[in-house]
Structures are given as structure tokens and as C-alpha cells.
């Protein structure tokens, strides 16, 4: 009985700890960044806009993990970095608003939005 109690406490503590300190991705912030930074640039580039629903969850996960932008010419992370946001913030309100967000958090937000909006996601999404 005593051990069981200790066990419960242990489990509860570890649950609490992981819940409190794991970053809780904000898909809505990811949505704004994806549309206002990624899409606004893609719309005028030869690639055109890329709907989240054009890839599956697995494909998006692989894309983000591979971290290859423009067929490997540069990285995806670079376009989510604070440095990049600082470089475009004078002309991009989303970059300005999220200027201070840690890179990994913003990347997680975008990943959450893409996972949600993927072809097989919970709510397939277009760019607009």
C-alpha cells in the first residue's frame, strides 16, 4: 500500500514535470508564420504557394527533419531563425511580431500547423 502510494506520487510527479516543461506547440502561431512569412514569399517565387494539404503528415515530418529548403540549397530552419526574422521584420509584420520567439518553439508551431493541415491531418488546410 505504502509502495503503491509512492509509486502514484512518482508517476504523478514525472507526468507533471514533463507536462509543465515540454513546449506546447501553438498551431495558430504556426499558421500565422506559415502564411505571412513562408507563403507570402513563395507566392511571388517561381515555386508558388504550397498548401499544407499538399503533403501527408509523414511527408511534412520528413521535410522538417531533412531540413532542406530549395532542394538542399539552404535549410528550412534558417527561415524560421531569429536572425532571418530580424532581417525581414521591417517589411513583414509576422516576423516583427514573433521576433523574440525562440527558434525551436516557432519551428514546433509550424510543425504543429503542418501536421494538422496535412493531407491526412485533422484539418487539411490551404494557404489562405
Amino acid at each position: 500500500m505504502k509502495f503503491t502510494n509512492q509509486l502514484t506520487v512518482g508517476v504523478a510527479l514525472s507526468l507533471l514535470a514533463s507536462a509543465a516543461f515540454a513546449y506546447d506547440a501553438d498551431w495558430k502561431r504556426g499558421r500565422v508564420y506559415y502564411r505571412s512569412v513562408c507563403t507570402s514569399c513563395h507566392a511571388v517565387q517561381p515555386v508558388g504557394t504550397i498548401n499544407p494539404s499538399s503533403k501527408t503528415k509523414a511527408e511534412w515530418a520528413a521535410y522538417l527533419k531533412g531540413d532542406k529548403h530549395a532542394k538542399g540549397k539552404d535549410t528550412v530552419k534558417q527561415y524560421v531563425s531569429k536572425a532571418y526574422r530580424a532581417s525581414i521584420k521591417s517589411g513583414n509584420k509576422a516576423a516583427e511580431k514573433f521576433a523574440a520567439v525562440p527558434d525551436q518553439e516557432l519551428l514546433d508551431d509550424i510543425a504543429a500547423f503542418l501536421t494538422k493541415g496535412a493531407k491526412d491531418g485533422d484539418a487539411p488546410a490551404s494557404c489562405n
Binding site: 509502495f3 514535470a17 509543465a20 498551431w27 509584420k93
Partner: protein
């Protein structure tokens, strides 16, 4: 046994240490523990929500265990009752009762329409409005964006993949209620929008100033909701108290002369008006514009057009052309060049519009509906679904922008009333399945409990929607010349003198005649002088 326990405990502790390791290391810095700042309660931590939910009401029961008064509060609202007694006109309104010229009416179509009810299971008149567990908390409090109430299920949710309609081969995917329940939060543009963006049966169809472009809009679309700017949610203006959302289309505030709201002021009115924040004299540089604001609603100049977010709104709907079939007897769908549907056998012809200039009328906030019990006459004029009250001289009216939605819909030419057809439904009498007005109207009128002669004709109607949202940045507000010109936006507005629009023709004629005669005299005189000077 104790060994196993100890090992487990050790493992848990190790996990805990691993998880907290970085935090403990951070303890060196005088930083505060990271917390969620948007709420005081992290619902993932609540045991009541750490379970599998097989239906919506199960979630609600869990919510009510702590939020004991919430359902009772919801029970008092329009969102729940779909019934509203207009104190000005004495009319009983609400979605349950009114007839419009979109999908016409709810009665007999509950299973479809009531996917937008804040409840579970309203499939017919037997619905229990006293039920607490049938209140739908998640419709407004979901933050995941994954909560869905498919049409046809009477507001219920899908917790196991199912084929719907049965035999259609279409699969409705299950949603994870547990995850959604653990992530509840404040209402958002997405939650309100799930219904209000889709009024009339699709994105942007009904309102024109509300569509999915406003879920994360740019500044150009809505200066207040601008996702990278002010980022208002709906509730920022529609300030909600005891679950009762402020602002109403049944009794709108057409003229708010009470000034900006002060906290605690006893007579604070509707918090959703422009004035509630901006006060009655908001123009700092051009005081002249404040005078304009005495007769012109803010919306008139500051919402230059609606449906600006790239999503078209329906402007007309002609039910009288519904029912056509192709050579094989199948339903037809026609699309325009942009791929938007402009004809469906089950609905008739539509026209759509983007960046639509509103129509303008004097409006005093009084809206009188043509109800199913009201007698109507087929005349040369359109029957108003909702008559907009107002006049230039009643002291209560302002010039308002409206989306005027025009249509032709079935009515009973013998009883001289509108009718409530049974449209949606996977049954033999649903018009959308069988395209048979006789059956559809007979069943629908029987359900709504009103007499039907059996004769059917179509009557032209119009419905006015005051435009409130999609407020443009101030640089995009209407310029003077939009109204101060012949045939400007306010060309048809009576009872007010608008310089340029109302230039007096007689005065202009006489004025120019005097100028012309003066010139003639001058030239005549000069000519004579020249001629006579030569002679001398």
C-alpha cells in the same frame, strides 16, 4: 514484488530527474518557473479529462463537475434556445422560428442545421432544453481546431470512424475528444467562425463580412483582427458575461451615443459597438468627420466593401430554378470560371460577389421579420424577410451599410404565407434528395405546425444584413467623393443635404447664366470699344 516496485519508483524518479534536469540547472538563474500565461488552469492536468470520451455529453459531464453553473448559464442564451423575444416588436424570433431566403428554415431540418447548435442531439421538437449534459462546451472552447460537428448528426460528434450518409461510401473521421477536452481554452475566431463564418451553409455564404479569411486575417481584411497586429478575437468586442455573448442582429444598436465604456459605469450598453471603445468623436485630425458620425454609422465609411478576404459571398439565390435534372435524371451542378458553384439542382441559381459595395439605408435598430404566420402579397416589390426600420427624421437612425440578399423562394399562394420546406435529410421527402417540392413543403409545414394549402408558387424576397466586420485600415476608409458626388454611394438616401449630390440645378443654371451674361456684356462692350476706337 517490493523489488519490482522499487525499480519502478527508481525509474520514475530517473525520468523525473531527466525531465527536470534542465530546469534544475536553470535554478541558478533567478528566472521564474515557466507557466502558461493564458490560463490559470492547465486542463491536461485534470484527472477528469484523462479518459476516453465516447460522446460529447460525456465531456460535458466532466466539465460540469467543476464548472457547475456553466450549463445553466448557457440555457439562458440565444445560442442554446434559438429563440428570442424582441422586446421592441414583440416578435418571437430565433433560429428555431425565423424564415430566411437562404436555406429557409430549421424546422424538419434539425439534424443538418443543428450541427451549429451549442448542444448535442437536437434532431426534432423532442429535444430536452433542460438537459445540462447536452450543452456543448467544446464548440466554443476548443483550441485545437479539430473539433467538428458534421451536418446530419443533430449536433453530435463522431468518436468512431463512420460511413455517412449510410451507403454513401463517405467516411466521417473520428475526433479525439480526450485531447480536445484537455486543451480547452477561451473562444477564438476559429471557434466562433466554425458556425458564423459558415452561415447559410458554406464559407462566407450568408454574412459577407464574416468568412474564413478572418480566422487569421491580414490587416487589410480586418484592422482589429489582424493576426500579426491587434489580433482581436470575436469576444474582444462581443464581450461575454455569464456565457451570454453581447451583440445581436435581432436588436442591433444602430446609434450609440453613450460614448466609450467606462468600467463599472451603470449604463454601459452594447459593448460590441464601435463607440464602446472609440467614443462618439474619434476623429482627432478632422473634427468635421465627427459631425458626419452624428448621422453616418462608422461602418459606412470604414467598411468600404465586404467579402474582401478572397472568399465570395452569395448575393442572390433563386430557388425557383431548382429541380432540373440532366438527361440521365441526375442532379446538375454548374460552376463559374473560378470554379464556384452557381447552380445546383437541389438549390437553384446563385450569384456570388467579392469586394462588394454595400447598399445604404437609414437604420434605427428596429428589425421586423416576416414570420411564417404573417400574410404576404405577391406584388411588384420584393417581400422583406426582415424589414429594416429607420428614417432621416426619427432621431434614432444612422446611415448604415447593408448586404442585401435577394432571392426567390417557395410560398403558399392560397394561405399567402412563406413556407418551411424539408430540405436536408436522407429521406424520401427531403427536397435535396428527391427534388419534389410538394412532399418537401408538406412535410416541412407539418413539422413547423403551420397550415399548407398544397399550392406552391415562388415569391421574390430580400433580406438585409447590417455590415459590421471587415473594418479596413483607416487609409482605406471611404474618400469624400464616394458620397459627395452625383450618383455616389449615398445617391438614394433621402432626407439629408449632401453637398455636390444635392446641388440645386436651378441655382446652378441661374448662376451660370449670370456669369455668362456678364461675360457677354464684357465682350460686347470690348468689341464696341475696339470698333469705335478704329472709327475715331
Amino acid at each position: 514484488m517490493p523489488t519490482f516496485m522499487r525499480t519502478t519508483l527508481a525509474l520514475c524518479c530517473a525520468g523525473w530527474l531527466a525531465a527536470t534536469g534542465p530546469v534544475l540547472a536553470d535554478d541558478a538563474k533567478p528566472e521564474l518557473k515557466p507557466v502558461k500565461l493564458t490560463t490559470t488552469a492547465d486542463h491536461t492536468k485534470f484527472k477528469e479529462l484523462q479518459q476516453v470520451f465516447n460522446s460529447g455529453p460525456e465531456v460535458t459531464k466532466a466539465c460540469l463537475r467543476c464548472h457547475t453553473e456553466a450549463a445553466g448559464q448557457i440555457h439562458r442564451t440565444k445560442h442554446w434556445k434559438w429563440e428570442y423575444l424582441n422586446p421592441q416588436t414583440g416578435q418571437t424570433l430565433g433560429k428555431k422560428t425565423v424564415v430566411n431566403n437562404f436555406c429557409i428554415s430549421v424546422a424538419s431540418n434539425e439534424a443538418a442545421c443543428n450541427s451549429c447548435h451549442v448542444g448535442y442531439g437536437w434532431k426534432d421538437a423532442s429535444f430536452d432544453f433542460k438537459s445540462e449534459e447536452n450543452v456543448d462546451c467544446l464548440a466554443c472552447h476548443d483550441t485545437t481546431g479539430n473539433y467538428k460537428k458534421p451536418s446530419g448528426l443533430a449536433g453530435n460528434v463522431v468518436t468512431k470512424d463512420m460511413e455517412f450518409p449510410p451507403g454513401s461510401g463517405k467516411i466521417l473521421k473520428a475526433i479525439d475528444l480526450s485531447k480536445i477536452a484537455q486543451k480547452v481554452g477561451k473562444s477564438s475566431r476559429d471557434t466562433c467562425g466554425a458556425c458564423h463564418f459558415n452561415g447559410g451553409g458554406g464559407d462566407g455564404v450568408k454574412h459577407g463580412d464574416l468568412d474564413s479569411s478572418m480566422s487569421a486575417p491580414e490587416k487589410e481584411v480586418d484592422v482589429h483582427m489582424d493576426a500579426t497586429g491587434l489580433d482581436f478575437t470575436c469576444a474582444t468586442c462581443h464581450k461575454t458575461s455569464s456565457h451570454d455573448v453581447a451583440g445581436s442582429r435581432y436588436t442591433p444598436t444602430a446609434k450609440d451615443s453613450k460614448g466609450a465604456h467606462l468600467r463599472g459605469k451603470a449604463d454601459n450598453g452594447n459593448p460590441a459597438t464601435c463607440v464602446a471603445c472609440h467614443d462618439n468623436a474619434p476623429h482627432k485630425k478632422e473634427a468635421r468627420l465627427n459631425q458626419h458620425a452624428a448621422k453616418i454609422a462608422c461602418q459606412t465609411c470604414h467598411i468600404p466593401s465586404f467579402a474582401r478576404g478572397g472568399i465570395a459571398t452569395k448575393m442572390t439565390w433563386d430557388w425557383s430554378t431548382a429541380g432540373q435534372r440532366d438527361a440521365e435524371g441526375k442532379h446538375i451542378t454548374k460552376k463559374d470560371a473560378k470554379g464556384r458553384i452557381i447552380y445546383e439542382s437541389r438549390k437553384g441559381d446563385f450569384t456570388l460577389g467579392e469586394n462588394v459595395k454595400p447598399e445604404y439605408v437609414w437604420f434605427n435598430g428596429q428589425v421586423t421579420y416576416t414570420l411564417i404566420t404573417d400574410k404576404i402579397e405577391k406584388t411588384g416589390q420584393r417581400t422583406p424577410i426582415n424589414k429594416i426600420g429607420g428614417s432621416p427624421s426619427d432621431g434614432k437612425s444612422m446611415i448604415w451599410p447593408m448586404k442585401v440578399f435577394r432571392g426567390s423562394q417557395p410560398y403558399d399562394p392560397v394561405n399567402k404565407t412563406l413556407v418551411t420546406p424539408h430540405t436536408a435529410g436522407n429521406d424520401d421527402t427531403g427536397y435535396w434528395k428527391n427534388l419534389d417540392w410538394d412532399k418537401a413543403i408538406a412535410v416541412g409545414m407539418n413539422t413547423s405546425g403551420h397550415p399548407f394549402s398544397g399550392k406552391i408558387d415562388f415569391i421574390k424576397t430580400e433580406m438585409s444584413w447590417p455590415i459590421n466586420h471587415m473594418v479596413a485600415p483607416k487609409e482605406k476608409a471611404l474618400g469624400c467623393v464616394e458620397c459627395h458626388s452625383k450618383d455616389g454611394r449615398l445617391a438614394g438616401i433621402p432626407g439629408i443635404y449632401i453637398p455636390v449630390r444635392d446641388n440645386n440645378k436651378l441655382l446652378d443654371t441661374v448662376g451660370w447664366a449670370i456669369v455668362f451674361l456678364t461675360l457677354l456684356g464684357v465682350f460686347g462692350h470690348a468689341t464696341l470699344r475696339i470698333v469705335t476706337a478704329r472709327r475715331h
